[in-house]
């Protein structure tokens, strides 16, 4: 069971969290003209790397904050967790 450090609550067990997928996907701005390709890339395309993966988790049974986790998809090692507005 993963041990995830919520940036607000500290280390907690995985069963308090919900997974939120690829955190490198960036939603196109509202009201901005985007090409079909850009939009499809946002909605459907995922890099799904083998190794370091930046992803969202949601402390759903805790503070209910979304945050970013950098995790290895092979070893499941967690390198760091970040608030959504933090880059490192």
């Amino acid at each position: 069971m993963l041990h995830i450090k919520c940036p607000h609550c500290g280390l907690r067990s995985q069963n308090e969290f919900a997974y939120g997928g690829d955190a490198t996907v960036k939603r196109p701005e509202l009201n901005k003209e985007v090409s079909d390709k850009e939009w499809d890339t946002f909605v459907y395309l995922r890099k799904s790397p083998r190794g370091k993966h930046l992803e969202f988790w949601h402390h759903i049974s805790g503070c209910r904050q979304w945050f970013k986790v950098e995790r290895d998809t092979v070893t499941h090692e967690i390198f760091k967790t970040l608030k959504p507005n933090e880059d490192n």
């Binding site: 799904s48 998809t73 092979v74 070893t75 499941h76």
Partner: protein
């Protein structure tokens, strides 16, 4: 090729089984092939077999990173069915069912196809209605399906929870009587042996490290055993698709996730159907060896580790006991994990790509094993003819742009939710 039969078995028994030939050879790669299939799993082996058999293309290599059959074809719960609602899935799977029925004889390798029927339990009238929609759709597509009431279910699987102390009582079920199971390793080996006998080179322990693409055309692949030229290349590496796609600068509507399964200790025959739980996600059958084979949800985060965590299994087995209370007293013997391509609508992709001569077979989600023959058959057709067959036309890569999605569960792009 030696023919396998009871007679050859007896004949060989008297020679101390010294005369059996290798099931497949161990060739060094040639400099060039007409077609290279990357991935020696069920789908890759089946594709090579059907390329040779149906399209007479035998200058084919299968390139496998590890040992053949070591991926998801060797780590699944062996369920075979075509009980789909959407026409694309249903008709494709029904081709598969026909291939399964004759597979042991066609491959001269006993894959132990056992059409014992699959029972999808329903726990409310609303769920019975959802299953009716699916079952009626199957019937109109020529696939067998029956709707069972509670008492009929009880007759078939009396060990399910029909007691008062149950959270979600069984209302009835949808059953596909012709669905069943097969011996997973046997499928991989059977295809490998026949493909090998028709001239296909099976190259194990050969990892793909890159692609040779020029002017929008595939020219060959780079591997740990050197560069190999090819006129056409097919990707059949469910679980690792994204890794190879990255080498090709492609991003796909696919994520890699981990799915665990487990077996109990072997017990005497008790359950002779495949049963799925309706108030959650749990499926169970009993193997010929006597083990209860059980599976359920994904671990729920991107993963390439073939090792899972216990809370997922705890959750899966909780639903298991809710369905079959007797499981409580059995012991869990073995667990394993497979990594799978989860596509963004839950259905696979079998298609050409923007690179000429490069073909894609991926996104099998939970359903790769049962699709093995149909996937190989249609993928071989797509590669050989350089055009999709009508049965895999729906599995196009551009359906995500056009909106022709095939979403059986209606869950959308959150592939890790089940």
């Amino acid at each position: 090729m030696q023919k396998y039969s009871v007679f050859s078995l007896i004949k060989n028994a008297f020679k101390g089984h010294k005369d059996w030939e290798v099931a497949w050879k161990d060739p060094t790669p040639k400099a060039e092939y007409d077609v290279i299939i990357i991935g020696g799993g069920g789908h890759g082996l089946a594709t090579a077999y059907y390329l040779a058999k149906e399209h007479n293309i035998t200058n084919v290599a299968i390139v496998e990173k590890g040992w053949i059959g070591g991926g998801n074809v060797g780590r699944n719960t062996t369920i075979i069915r075509s009980n789909y609602m959407h026409d694309e899935n249903a008709l494709f799977s029904e081709l598969g069912m026909n291939l399964w029925r004759n597979m042991s004889q066609e491959l001269n390798f006993n894959v132990m196809f056992s059409p014992r029927g699959i029972i999808n339990l329903a726990h409310s009238d609303a769920q019975m209605n959802v299953y009716s929609r699916r079952g009626n759709s199957m019937r109109l597509n020529g696939i067998d399906a029956v709707l069972l009431g509670r008492e009929e279910v009880k007759k078939l699987i009396p060990m399910a929870d029909f007691s008062e102390n149950v959270r979600f009582p069984i209302f009835g079920a949808l059953m596909q009587p012709s669905a069943g199971t097969a011996r997973h390793d046997g499928v991989a080996w059977g295809y490998a042996r026949q493909a090998d006998s028709m001239g296909v080179d099976i190259i194990q322990h050969c990892e793909v490290t890159g692609f040779d693409v020029a002017n929008g055309k595939i020219k060959g692949i780079k591997t740990s055993k050197g560069n190999i030229k090819a006129k056409k290349v097919g990707l059949c590496v469910a679980g690792s698709t994204s890794v190879l796609a990255e080498m090709l600068n492609m991003t796909l509507p696919v994520e890699t996730h981990l799915l665990q399964a487990c077996v109990s200790e072997p017990i005497k025959p008790l359950l002779d159907r495949v049963v799925t739980f309706g108030a959650g996600h749990f499926y169970c059958s009993q193997s010929d060896k006597g083990e209860m084979v059980m599976g359920g949800d994904l671990d729920g985060y991107n993963s390439y580790a073939q090792r899972g965590n216990l809370p997922t299994l705890q959750h899966v087995l909780t639903e298991g006991i809710a369905m079959f209370p007797f499981l409580s007293k059995l012991k869990m013997l073995r667990t394993w994990g497979g990594i799978m391509d989860m596509s963004m609508d839950g259905s696979p992709i079998i298609d050409k790509t923007h690179i000429e001569g490069l073909y894609l077979n991926c996104g099998w989600c939970y359903g790769g094993f049962k699709a093995t023959p149909a996937s190989g058959w249609t993928f071989a057709h797509t590669i050989a003819q350089d055009r999709v067959h009508e049965l895999n036309a729906g599995y196009s890569l551009n359906r995500f742009s056009t909106g022709h999605l095939i979403d059986e569960k209606g869950l959308g792009t959150k592939t890790w939710i089940s």
